[in-house]
């Protein structure tokens, strides 16, 4: 294992982590502030990617498609909020699970009806469609580095928003005691809608960013949703900081685990057994990590003060 390999893998891990963070941030906010389990968050990511495809076909360029898709993602999020989710805020968690599961089923099928079952894609954006040579054969796409930078910017922005502004203060207050905030005369409905729309937009943003490197297909959000949940429980529900740290940890552990688990297994096992055990272990790694973290800290790494 060479230094370059390790460096590249670390970059890859960071990139996955950033993507997860963008999805998890909205999820943890909505969950933390509104006490609302939104399983449909993953399909909002998928919707972002599909909207990017549609906007790209419409405008012919990534940069002009980006704001368009972002707005459309926000609009879709708000539409869902008005139609379905707002009726679920004061319901039991399990009611929310069932209803948002229904939304997943519906939207996964809807994109297939509208855009077809075949995977789609968006080309790399202008100015970012080149690569940095790392070795004589391997080069690293600049777009991926840009994705990391964009994610970090969003993280900083979010952190500023949550810690330095009035809205952020309300959000933090809402996360620890929503009833108290309402009692202070804040329009909790509007705050909720704002937070929800923002979260949906973040997930959509992640989808838009993912469209040029991943295939855009029905159901692409389902597995990421599970990963995003892993991220927010490890981080501690409602904590943006926790989501950031744990998203990076998950990204790194998953990526590095995938590349080195088989090698490590080969140290202890015969090759054929190692080929069975290694990949299975790599897939399990984040779940093992989550189980260990929750065993040691049952409310995640950065628990928001309990209710």
């Amino acid at each position: 294992m060479s230094f370059t390999l390790l460096a590249v893998q670390t970059l890859n891990g960071l990139q996955l982590g950033i993507l997860l963070f963008l999805i998890a941030a909205g999820l943890t906010l909505v969950f933390g502030v509104m006490d609302f389990i939104n399983l449909a968050h993953g399909v909002q990511y998928m919707l972002g990617a599909y909207l990017a495809v549609a906007a790209f076909q419409f405008t012919g360029g990534f940069w002009s498609a980006l704001p368009l898709a972002l707005l459309a993602a926000l609009a879709c999020g708000l539409l869902l909020e008005v139609l379905v989710f707002r009726r679920l805020y004061d319901r039991d968690h399990l009611d929310q699970v069932l209803a948002t599961f229904g939304v997943i089923i519906f939207l996964n099928e809807l994109v297939k009806v509208v855009w077809g079952a075949a995977p789609l894609s968006v080309p790399l954006p202008l100015y970012l469609d080149w690569s940095v040579p790392l070795t004589d054969t391997l080069s690293y796409p600049v777009y991926r580095i840009a994705l990391i930078v964009a994610g970090l910017l969003v993280a900083v922005l979010l952190y500023g928003l949550v810690t330095r502004t009035r809205i952020g203060m309300l959000v933090r207050a809402g996360a620890s005691d929503a009833e108290m905030v309402a009692a202070l005369g804040v329009n909790i409905r509007r705050l909720f809608m704002l937070v929800f729309g923002f979260g949906a937009m973040l997930a959509g943003f992640a989808g838009i960013l993912a469209a040029p490197i991943f295939s855009v297909e029905p159901g692409m959000g389902d597995n990421l949703l599970i990963l995003a949940f892993v991220v927010i429980v490890i981080g501690g529900i409602g904590s943006i900081r926790g989501a950031f740290v744990s998203a990076l940890i998950i990204g790194l552990v998953d990526t590095l685990g995938r590349s080195f688990a088989t090698d490590i297994a080969r140290l202890a096992l015969p090759p054929s057994a190692a080929n069975d055990v290694g990949p299975a272990l790599a897939s399990m790694l984040i779940y093992i990590l989550m189980a260990v973290v929750l065993f040691v800290r049952p409310s995640g790494l950065f628990p928001v003060s309990s209710k």
Binding site: R87, G102, E109, A280, M284, A291, L294
Partner: protein, 323 residues
């Protein structure tokens, strides 16, 4: 939010006896229907419903009564199924060996994972059970000696002292329905006992139960193990029903589906879970026959059940007049 189980019922006997009675009677009559209308599929389909219903009822036992949302319940089904499948691969077909092994494996997995998971609450519990479910799933996919991801075809069914109890359609159906009824009754007895009251009490207020000098942890763990064993029984029957075992039986999608069936029927009555399973699978079967894009109808239907049918389908059935 007040759990349905402790809302005072005007006449609890009628609804809670009648609904399961009708459901079980309906199930028991399926072979008659199948004979009269020469519809063998109906019986095979009903067998599948009954097998899954065992697992869903076992989930409702911990979900509805103890408030433990297990998002890894499919793992127990898978463990039960793999126990039967792997033993059959080694030519062990006798029920008196394979079924106890399946149940013990499910119980043991529940004991170990439960002991760890019970340290967490709420969503953290949901996610830690998911973690264990995924571990079981990936372990199964790596079992290349037993088919790995493609699964394992069983070239026969479990044997029961030389009879064809498992192999004959009708006797197997009644065996499954019998197991379902037995699981249902057993779990219902548990919930009505002191044991069940401790669980329900701990769901409401852990402090109050602890103040009585009872540790809810141990009660919950026992409930979790019982539930895991019942789900493993469902898995063992499923292996026989499908004559096929595969990791997809323990994926998180399946665990999610079990929860959805449970919620659709309504929590905390056990027969709600049974009703939910029937409704979910029947709806899927009927809708998927109408159009390729049946999910466009199915999804919103689930949303509507939540918005307008508080307490699931069983809530619609037993709702007090005038409410």
């Amino acid at each position: 939010m007040i759990p349905a189980s402790i809302t005072p019922k005007t006449s609890p006997l009628k609804a809670s006896t009648l609904v399961p009675l009708i459901l079980f009677l309906g199930l028991a009559l399926v072979p008659v229907y199948a004979q009269v209308f020469d519809d063998r599929f109906m019986m095979l389909f009903a067998t599948r419903i009954a097998v899954l219903a065992i697992a869903v009822v076992s989930l409702d036992f911990i979900l509805g009564f103890a408030g433990l949302v297990s998002f890894g319940h499919a793992a127990f089904i898978g463990i039960g199924a793999y126990a039967i499948g792997i033993l059959s691969e080694h030519d062990i077909w006798e029920a008196w060996i394979s079924f106890p092994v399946a149940l013990a494996a499910g119980g043991l997995f529940a004991l170990i994972t439960g002991a760890i998971s019970m340290k967490t609450r709420g969503v953290y519990f949901i996610m830690i059970t998911l973690a264990f479910g995924q571990m079981a799933y990936f372990t199964a996919t790596s079992l290349s000696a037993y088919g790995g991801d493609d699964g394992l075809t069983m070239w026969g069914r479990t044997e029961f002292f030389g009879t064809n109890l498992f192999a004959n359609d009708i006797s197997f159906f009644y065996l499954v329905v019998g197991c379902l009824a037995a699981s249902y009754l057993l779990l219902r007895i548990f919930t009505g006992s002191r044991f069940g009251r401790v669980l329900a009490g701990a769901k409401q207020s852990e402090l109050r139960v602890e103040a009585l000098g009872i540790s809810p942890y141990r009660y919950r763990l026992v409930a979790y193990c019982i539930s895991g064993m019942v789900a493993a029984l469902a898995g063992a029957l499923m292996a026989n029903q499908a004559e096929f075992v595969s990791p997809s039986a323990m994926s998180w999608h399946r665990s999610g589906e079990l929860i959805v069936m449970c919620l659709l029927g309504g929590l905390g009555s056990l027969h709600g879970a049974l009703l939910g399973t029937i409704a979910y699978l029947a709806l899927e079967e009927v809708l998927s026959g109408t159009t390729e894009h049946w999910r466009l109808i199915f999804g919103p239907l689930l949303v509507l059940v939540v918005l307008y049918g508080k307490g699931g389908l069983i809530g619609l059935v037993t709702r007090r007049p005038g409410k």
